[in-house]
C-alpha cells in the first residue's frame, strides 16, 4: 500500500534566480483532491460474506486524482502541466479554480490563502479557458452575452458590458458585428477565441487553460497559441496551461511540470526539460514525440499498459509498475525479481499457488531462476516461503519486504537535479546522463 508522502517543502522554492523580483501569484502546497468511489451513505455499504464478524463493511476508498502537488507560479509566467490522460491534470486545474473542493493542502493566491479571499474577488482575478470549444459555449445564447458573463457576475452595467465585449471581440481577432451571432455560426478556432475573450473580459490575473487547443486543428492551434502569448505580453497575464501535447507546452510555457498519477514527477524550465530529463517517465513521454527527421526511426513507445488505478496507486514510486529503469536489487536478475514479485503478491493475498506443498516446490514454482539469485537473497526467499507455508503470513510478508527494490519501498520526493531550477522525483541517481538510451535497459517490468 502507498506510503503516505509529504512532498518536500523545498519544492516550493522554485524561484528562478533570473526572476527573483516576481512574487508568486499562485502557490500550491500539498494539494490533494480525492473523489470517493461511492458517494452517499447507502452506496458505500458493501456486503461481504467472507469478512470475519459483521458481514457489512463500509467502502470508503477514493480515487486520488491529485495527491500532493506543490508548485509556485510567478506573475506573468506560464507553467505547463503535461501528463497522460487520467493523471489528474484537469482535476488540478479545477481544484485550483474552486470548481472542486480540495481534500487537503493549501492554495495561496497573491500571497493570501484562497479561503480568505472573498469568492467575488477571486472570480474577478481568475478565469479559465476550456478544452472543448463546442461545449464550453452555451449554444442558445449570443456570443456577445457569453463574453459579458464574467462582467455581469462582477456587477457591471449593461452598456459598459456591451462596449467591453465589442472591444474584446476585436482584440481576439473577430469582428464587432459578431456580437449578436450564436456559437454554432462559428468555426472551432473562432469559438476558442470567444472562449479566450470571455476569460479576458474581466481582466483577470490568472488564466487556467485546460487543454486550450487540443480540440482544434494544427494551424488553428498555432493562431490561438500566438494570440495567447500576445495577450500575455500585453496584459501581463499568468497562465497555467494543462496539456497532453508537448509541443504546445514547449511553445508557450516558461516552466513545465510532468505529472503522473496525481503527482508532479519532474519540474523544470522548459528549455531544460526538453534537453535533460531525469525521471524515466518524463524521458519516455518526451521520446514519444514524433520526430520530423525522416532519417530517424519512427516513434517507439517506451511505455506500455495504462496508468494504474488512482484509487489504489502502486506502493513506493507510483511509476514503478511501468518504469523502464526499474531498480533491481543487487543479487536478483530481472526474471528472478519478477518471480519474487509474484510470490510477494500471493503472500499478501494470503494464498500461495495451490500446487505448492513444500519449500522447494514453492521456490521452483515462483522463482525458477533461483540459481541466479545471490545466496543471502535466496535464503530470505526460502525462509519467507517456509513461514508462509506455516501460516505466518505477516512474518513472511515482512521477510519478503526487506528484499524489495527501493522503487517499491519508498516514494521518491522532488529533489534538485543538476540545476537549481530543475527538480525530479526518482530513486535513480541524477548523475545519469539524460540522453542515455533508456530503451536498451531491458529490465522493464510489466
Amino acid at each position: 500500500m502507498g506510503v503516505e508522502v509529504i512532498m518536500s517543502a523545498g519544492s516550493q522554492q522554485t524561484g528562478d534566480t533570473a526572476d527573483a523580483a516576481g512574487q508568486p501569484l499562485l502557490e500550491v502546497s500539498g494539494l490533494k483532491k480525492h473523489f470517493p468511489v461511492n458517494s452517499g451513505l447507502f452506496a458505500s455499504i458493501t456486503f461481504d460474506r467472507d469478512a470475519d464478524g459483521f458481514p457489512i463493511t463500509r467502502d470508503d476508498s477514493s480515487v486520488k486524482a491529485v495527491d500532493g502537488v506543490d508548485f509556485a507560479l510567478e506573475a506573468g509566467k506560464t507553467l505547463g502541466v503535461v501528463g497522460e490522460s487520467g493523471c489528474g491534470k484537469s482535476t488540478l486545474a479545477r481544484t485550483i479554480l474552486g470548481l472542486e473542493e480540495p481534500t487537503a493542502g493549501e492554495i495561496r493566491f497573491d500571497g493570501r490563502p484562497k479561503d480568505e479571499i472573498p469568492e467575488a474577488e477571486f472570480r474577478k482575478r481568475s478565469q479559465m479557458v476550456f478544452q472543448d470549444p463546442q461545449s464550453s459555449l452555451n449554444g442558445r445564447r449570443r456570443v456577445g452575452h457569453i463574453i459579458e458573463d464574467p462582467l455581469e457576475g462582477a456587477g457591471w452595467e449593461k452598456a459598459r458590458r456591451r462596449e467591453r465585449a465589442l472591444e474584446l471581440l476585436e482584440q481576439v481577432g473577430l469582428k464587432r458585428e459578431y456580437y449578436n451571432r450564436y456559437p454554432h455560426e462559428f468555426s472551432g478556432g473562432q469559438r476558442q477565441r470567444i472562449n479566450l475573450a470571455r476569460a479576458l473580459s474581466i481582466s483577470p490575473d490568472l488564466i487556467v487553460c485546460d487543454e486550450p487547443v487540443s480540440g482544434l486543428d494544427v494551424s488553428i492551434q498555432a493562431q490561438i497559441l500566438n494570440l495567447m502569448t500576445d495577450l500575455q505580453a500585453e496584459y501581463g497575464l499568468t497562465y497555467l496551461v494543462i496539456s497532453h501535447d508537448l509541443s504546445v507546452v514547449r511553445y508557450i510555457a516558461d516552466r513545465v511540470a510532468v505529472m503522473y498519477l496525481g503527482e508532479f514527477v519532474e519540474v523544470a524550465p522548459t528549455d531544460r526539460l526538453f534537453t535533460h530529463q531525469y525521471h524515466p517517465y518524463a524521458r519516455a513521454l518526451l521520446s514519444a514525440v514524433p520526430n520530423p527527421d525522416p532519417d530517424m526511426p519512427g516513434v517507439s513507445s517506451q511505455l506500455s499498459g495504462a496508468v494504474p488505478s488512482a484509487s489504489n496507486p502502486p506502493r513506493g514510486c507510483r511509476f514503478h509498475t511501468r518504469c523502464p529503469s526499474f531498480i533491481i536489487p543487487d543479487g536478483f536478475t530481472a526474471e528472478a525479481y519478477d518471480g519474487y514479485d509474484r510470490l510477494r503478491s500471493d503472500v499478501s493475498e494470503r494464498s500461495l499457488d495451490p500446487e505448492v506443498n513444500d519449500v522447494s516446490s514453492a521456490l521452483e514454482t515462483y522463482v525458477p531462476e533461483l540459481a541466479s539469485v545471490a545466496g543471502d537473497r535466496r535464503a530470505a526467499l526460502e525462509s519467507a516461503v517456509s513461514e508462509a507455508l506455516d501460516g505466518e503470513w505477516d512474518r513472511a510478508e515482512r521477510t519478503l519486504e526487506s528484499e524489495q527494490s527501493p522503487c517499491q519501498a519508498e516514494a521518491p520526493s522532488l529533489e534538485t537535479a543538476g540545476d537549481p531550477a530543475h527538480e525530479a522525483a526518482c530513486h535513480l541517481s541524477f548523475e545519469t546522463p539524460s540522453d542515455a538510451d533508456s530503451g536498451s535497459t531491458e529490465d522493464g517490468r510489466r
Binding site: 459555449l137 452555451n138 457576475g153 481577432g173 478556432g189 517507439s300 513507445s301
Partner: protein
C-alpha cells in the same frame, strides 16, 4: 486570422437540438402533421365556443345550429337525424352543439393542467439536480410520494377537499402531473450541470439562479416538451374520468366526460349520447399522442425523419462496385511486413 468572415457551414451543426429547429423538422413526419391538424381543428372549435359563449352568449351557435343549453323535453333522446346529426340527450339538448362546446373545457383542462405540471416540474427537477445533496433528496422524495398515489385518486381527494369546480380540477391535475416532468427535467439537468458552459458560468461568478434558468433549463427543456404533448391526452382522459365520476365539470357546462357519464344510463336506448363524446375524447387524445410521437422521433438523434437518399441504395450493387474497385487497384494488402517505416505495432514492443 482564422477563416474570418467565413460563416461556418450550417450542416455541420445540425445536432444542436433547439426547440424551434426540432419543430421545423416535424414537417417530415406525416403522423405528427396529422396530429397537428387534429389539434388545430380542436383549437379552432374551442376558440369558437369560448368567444361565442362569453361574447355573444351562444348566439352564433344558435344561429348556425342549435343552442347547446336549450332543453326541449319533446325531443328527449331523439335519434341522429338531419336536424340533430348527433341526436339529442336526456333533456333534448342538441348533442352536436354540446360536443363542440365540450372541446373548450377539454382543451382548457389539458393546457392549463399541463402548464401547471410543466412549470412546477421544470422548476423542481432543475433545482433538485443543480443543488443536489439534501435539496435533491428532499424534493425528489416528496415528488415520489405524489407518484406513489394513483393520479385519479389524488385528484379526487383534492376535489373532495376543495370542492368540485373547474379551477380545482386544473390545479388537481396540474399537481398530479408534476412528478413525471420533474423526473425528466432532473435527468436532463444532471447531465447539463457538468457541461463546460455551466462551469464557465460558475467561474464567471454569476448567481446560481441565473445559471439555472439561463444555462441549464433552456438546454434541457426539449424532452420536457415531448413529455407535455404526450401527457396532454392522459390529462384530458383523466379530467373526463373525474367529470364522469361527478367531481369535475359541473352541469350545465358541456363536458365530454360528463356527457359520457350521463349517456351511460341510457346506453341501450340512446347509444349516441355516449358514443359521440367518446369519439371526441379518442380523437383528441390521439391527436396529441401523434404529435408527441412525432416530436419524440424528431428529438431522437438516432432517428432520421427526413427522406434520405439511402432508400434506393442497394447493398449488393455497392458490394459489387467495391469488389471491382479493389481488384483493379494495385494496392498491396495491409500486412505488418509492409509497415517497414515503423508505423503500427512493432514486434519489439513491450507487452
Amino acid at each position: 486570422m482564422s477563416g474570418e468572415g467565413v460563416p461556418a457551414n450550417d450542416a455541420e451543426f445540425h445536432d444542436e437540438g433547439g426547440v424551434l429547429e426540432t419543430l421545423t423538422k416535424l414537417r417530415h413526419s406525416p403522423t405528427s402533421l396529422a396530429g397537428l391538424l387534429i389539434i388545430f381543428a380542436l383549437v379552432l372549435m374551442a376558440l369558437f365556443s369560448a368567444v361565442d359563449n362569453f361574447v355573444f352568449d351562444r348566439a352564433i351557435i344558435t344561429w348556425l345550429h342549435a343552442d347547446p343549453h336549450a332543453m326541449d323535453q319533446s325531443m328527449r333522446y331523439d335519434d341522429p337525424s338531419w336536424e340533430h346529426p348527433m341526436g339529442t340527450d336526456r333533456y333534448g339538448r342538441d348533442m352536436l352543439s354540446r360536443v363542440i362546446y365540450g372541446s373548450r373545457t377539454a382543451l382548457t383542462i389539458g393546457i392549463v393542467a399541463v402548464g401547471i405540471s410543466f412549470v412546477g416540474g421544470v422548476i423542481i427537477g432543475a433545482v433538485s439536480a443543480f443543488f443536489g445533496g439534501y435539496v435533491d433528496d428532499f424534493l425528489m422524495r416528496s415528488v415520489e410520494i405524489l407518484y406513489a398515489i394513483p393520479g385519479l385518486v389524488l385528484a379526487i381527494i383534492f376535489m373532495a377537499i376543495f370542492g368540485p369546480s373547474i379551477y380545482n380540477l386544473f390545479i388537481a391535475y396540474g399537481i398530479v402531473g408534476i412528478p413525471a416532468y420533474a423526473r425528466v427535467m432532473r435527468s436532463e439537468a444532471l447531465s447539463i450541470r457538468d457541461r463546460q458552459y455551466v462551469e464557465a458560468a460558475k467561474l464567471a461568478g454569476l448567481p446560481r439562479r441565473t445559471i439555472l434558468f439561463r444555462e441549464i433549463v433552456p438546454n434541457g427543456i426539449a424532452p420536457v416538451v415531448v413529455q407535455a404533448t404526450l401527457s396532454m391526452g392522459g390529462v384530458i382522459i383523466g379530467a373526463a374520468a373525474l367529470s364522469f365520476l361527478g367531481f369535475g365539470v359541473q352541469p350545465p357546462t358541456p363536458d365530454w366526460g360528463r356527457m359520457l357519464s350521463d349517456g351511460r344510463t341510457a346506453m341501450v336506448v340512446a347509444w349516441w349520447v355516449a358514443v359521440f363524446p367518446g369519439i371526441m375524447i379518442f380523437i383528441t387524445v390521439m391527436g396529441f399522442n401523434m404529435l408527441g410521437d412525432g416530436l419524440r422521433d424528431v428529438m431522437d438523434p438516432k432517428m432520421t425523419v427526413e427522406a434520405t437518399p439511402y432508400d434506393d441504395w442497394n447493398i449488393d450493387e455497392w458490394k459489387e462496385k467495391q469488389r471491382a474497385a479493389t481488384t483493379e487497384s494495385d494496392l498491396a494488402p495491409d500486412t505488418p511486413t509492409t509497415r517497414a517505416d515503423g508505423s503500427g505495432p512493432q514486434e519489439g514492443d513491450r507487452s
